[in-house]
């Protein structure tokens, strides 16, 4: 079945220059394998389309049941250069949590 990522995860996002950091955390440790399977760097980059110009790199934190995505060229120049409302990427974790993912009923 398809569910929004927000059913099984939460997160927080911020900036470092023109790079956004989007941390996604499983609400329950048992959901972490689903995050690892469904949230590939490629799918995350595709989800944001032309909002993210550069590479998306995924880091794993199994100790926190969390993934950290570094999205380069994601903030319209970053810092004081950016012309965006959300120049610091504060809402990008919410944007990613809207993504629909595929899970088996037994996983929930």
């Amino acid at each position: 079945m398809r569910i929004p990522l927000s059913r099984i995860a939460h997160g927080r996002s911020g900036d470092k220059g023109d790079t956004a950091n989007v941390g996604i955390i499983a609400l329950n440790d048992s959901y972490y394998p689903i995050l690892r399977r469904e949230l590939t760097a490629e799918r995350v980059k595709a989800w944001f389309g032309d909002f993210v110009l550069g590479e998306v790199i995924r880091y794993e934190l199994p100790n926190l049941s969390a993934l950290n995505f570094l999205m380069h060229g994601a903030l319209g120049g970053g810092g004081t250069l950016s012309l965006r409302t959300d120049a610091q990427g504060k809402t990008l974790s919410s944007a990613l949590l809207r993504m629909e993912i595929e899970v088996d009923e037994g996983e929930m």
Partner: protein
């Protein structure tokens, strides 16, 4: 000491003014950490110092200290703050003037602005970590140069007996690590314990963002955010610690919020580089340990890098952002049409910009392509067009191109508010590295 309590009462310059006093009034605290500096803050402070040599620090800080001076004296609370910005001595003098009973020490050595040409001449290229360009390419535009410095000089300042320690561009979490080094005698090669101190500092450096603020999990049930309690680390000599807040305060501390803060603004979690140690955030174990209390153990660290990061700010150019509002029906279509007209007129004028950026506030401004909203159902949008460029005259001309659309564009244009948008100077940030030997920290007690 079997345990010390380190509280953070400011997550940035502009944070809640009541928080530091409440932390001292509402329960026990040994050290009060106040974090004032962000990347852009240094450039603002440097501009203020150029205008007045007595300025260049966080001006909210001295009156704040005066307001809590009796707590500091009577309860032996010690304050550690990077409020000094680019003029920590002037900051210390103002604190002494407003709170003459307090002993104040300053950590110096992070400010490299006056040495910049010597450093360039000595072959330090200070290449931009993002694009590889050498600093020489922007030298005439440089406003400030500061190195992110570590916790050991701050611990030395605590050893002078100071009530208040003021730093310049000290790394945020190092402000929390310093009292641990001072109290527990941690050494510069105690990598795991230093890393634990950095993780502790990171978990509270953004203030109430670890005690229920900006937390996504069950946020509607987080109690009394109006009276939120700012976070406190209870650190033990072996590097294990708890994060908590004073009883009776608002907010919530649980493992959900702490995990959100731990992953906030980090890069490679296995190598979180700080001046004192490289912390491994994949080693951190987090568990709930009672109401409003989270236990953190197991932190590992590895040796510090041979370089320190620089915070360089420089004059980049100019920008302006203008807005117009369009309403139902076809609000999105009208805003897009207006955007096309503005861009065509700028083109016809022959104006060149580094970037023209358009977003439709209320439709896709925050989430961009991830918004996936049905545009026909949108009640109203704010068309928000921004330009950025090196030619101030071109940016200024742009500010005259939005309002005419109220009469000459799609129907119903409104919300032009105060008229033409402002043209703002852009000060940009240049991240670079220098060998750590370049930095020579020193301590000065300001009498």
């Amino acid at each position: 000491m079997s345990m010390i309590r380190i509280a953070n009462g400011q997550g940035f310059w502009g944070d809640w003014l009541e928080a530091p006093a409440r932390l001292l009034e509402q329960g026990p605290v040994d050290y009060l950490m106040l974090d004032y500096l962000a990347e852009v803050t240094m450039s603002i402070l440097q501009k203020q110092r150029r205008a007045d040599t007595n300025l260049g620090y966080a001006r909210d800080f001295p009156p704040l200290i005066a307001g809590i001076a009796s707590h500091i004296r009577d309860r032996r609370v010690r304050v550690i703050a990077n409020a000094g910005g680019v003029n920590p001595i002037a900051c210390a003098r103002e604190v002494r003037r407003l709170a003459p009973g307090l002993r104040v020490a300053v950590v110096l050595g992070d400010d490299l602005f006056d040495q910049l040409d010597d450093l360039l001449a000595a072959g330090h290229e200070m290449r931009n970590m993002d694009n590889g360009e050498p600093l020489a390419s922007i030298r005439p535009k440089v406003l400030s140069v500061n190195a992110y410095t570590g916790a050991f000089p701050v611990a030395d300042a605590l050893a002078t007996g100071a009530d208040v320690v003021i730093t310049g561009r000290c790394a945020d979490p190092a402000l929390a690590l310093a009292p641990m080094i001072h109290e527990f005698g941690w050494q510069s090669t105690d990598w795991d314990r230093l890393a634990a101190g950095i993780v502790a500092g990171h978990s509270i450096e953004c203030g109430a963002q670890s005690s229920g603020g900006n937390c996504q999990v069950d946020w509607t049930t987080i109690p009394d955010l109006a009276n939120i309690g700012y976070p406190i680390v209870e650190m033990e000599p072996d590097g294990n610690f708890s994060v908590t807040k004073h009883p009776g305060t608002g907010g919530r501390i649980d493992s959900h919020g702490i995990k959100e803060q731990l992953i906030y603004e980090i890069g490679d979690p296995a190598r979180y580089i700080t001046p004192d140690v490289v912390a491994d955030f994949t080693s951190v174990l987090v568990r709930d340990d009672g109401p409003d209390r989270v236990r953190i153990t197991g932190v590992k660290g590895s040796p510090a890098t041979p370089t320190l990061k620089l915070s360089v700010s420089y004059l980049w150019g100019w920008k302006s952002i203008g807005t117009l509002v369009y309403s139902y029906p076809d609000a999105v279509e009208k805003a897009r049409a207006a955007d096309r007209i503005v861009r065509q007129r700028l083109e016809q004028l022959g104006l060149r910009f580094d970037e023209i950026y358009t977003e439709l506030f209320g439709f896709n401004a925050c989430h961009g392509p991830a918004a996936r909203t049905d545009e026909k159902a949108v009640a109203e949008v704010q068309l928000r067009i921004g330009v950025r460029g090196h030619d101030k005259a071109a940016v200024d001309r742009f500010t005259r191109e939005l309002i005419p659309l109220v009469l000459s564009g799609p129907p119903g244009g409104t919300g032009y508010g105060d008229g033409r948008p402002a043209v703002r100077e852009v000060v940009a940030f240049w991240p670079a590295l220098v060998p750590r030997e370049v930095i020579r920290p020193s301590i000065e007690v300001v009498e």
